[in-house]
Amino acid sequence: MSWPGSRSFDKLRLRFRSVARRTGVDEQLDAELAFHLDQQIVENLAAGMKAEEAGFAARRVIGGIAQIKDQCRDTRRVGWIMDAASDVRFALHTFARAPAFAATIVGTLALGIGANTAVFSIADALILRTLPLPQPARLVQVLQPDGPGLEQFGERFSLEDYHRMRDAPRPFAQLAAETGTGQTSMLAGVSEESVRRDSVSGNYFGALGITAAMGRTILPEDVEGGRGGVAVISYAFWKNRFNLDPRVIGRSIRIEKDHFEIAWIPSRRASRTDPMAALRCE
């Protein structure tokens, strides 16, 4: 006796073969039937027929080769459907007989699939996908020791530190600064809403190589000239809040007490999902 699943496995293998290697199956069928025909011819010759007559008679006995082939193929194909149908019926009967068991199975599968999907989404975002920037491998974050030991690192730098590192020829090609200021309220048009806002340096988008979906590029002069008040909104925010309206460029928005002019929108690929990044001053 073989183990109980081996027959199903064989069937599965055969089905796979019929579907995936249709030509292989057909070739085997051709060889099978050709062999049969030849045997019939040999028999006819042995019975004393002439060669031509033997071949003709053999074909007559066997009948339509093409027809037999079609029937064999149909057997396989119909068998496939009938098997699948009876499998489904059997499964439904089993479920109906033991609803608690069925619910447990469905629940287990749902939990398993859900947990895997969740873990994979995180792994996908963190490990598999690179940052949507032109040269993510060349991007580093600068930290400095925060406290007595070397275990803790902080992200806080003074403006002087930043300027010194930015203006030094090495080791960075470019250095940009970012300050997260967290949730804040913003008024655009008539409605006020809560958005996430970051303040960044004027060279921020240029250094990261983020291109514009709309509007002009932000230049360091925007902030260094003391003008300030220029804002960048994310593509997602542009879509959700403004319906991708191109006239949004140059519009004034108010963030807390300050007024900003929307200067540009990063391309969708580079866009973060935060609703908004506002540019202020260094």
Partner: protein, 109 residues
């Protein structure tokens, strides 16, 4: 001896399974053996033999394998699987039931 008799409906599977239960055989040999063992009474039409072989293979009762014949030709040899062996026992039992039932009626009634 009269004309070869057509097979009783549903008995072809039994004949094929029984024929290859001794040793693997290709389609031609199966047809010939059935014909010879039945003293030329039973004749399997090729039009029903090959579809039946493919159906039995699809059921997992027999297994086909390309191999060489004694004459060096390539042919598909069918052999019985474990599932096919138990199917053969079932078919034999049901054939015994059916044939003795028919006998009862034919001889007594």
């Amino acid at each position: 001896m009269g004309k070869p008799t057509d097979l009783v409906q549903g008995t072809l599977d039994l004949l094929i399974l029984k024929t290859i239960s001794l040793e693997p055989a290709h389609g031609w040999a199966i047809a010939k053996r059935i014909q010879q063992v039945s003293n030329e009474v039973l004749q399997v039409q090729q039009g029903s033999l090959y579809p039946a072989l493919h159906r039995l293979e699809q059921q997992g009762w027999i297994k086909g394998r390309m191999d060489e014949t004694e004459t060096g030709r390539t042919a598909k040899f069918y052999s019985l699987t474990a599932a096919g062996r138990s199917q053969l026992e079932k078919e034999l039992a049901s054939w015994d039931r059916l044939s003795s039932a028919i006998n009862l009626i034919a001889r007594l009634a």
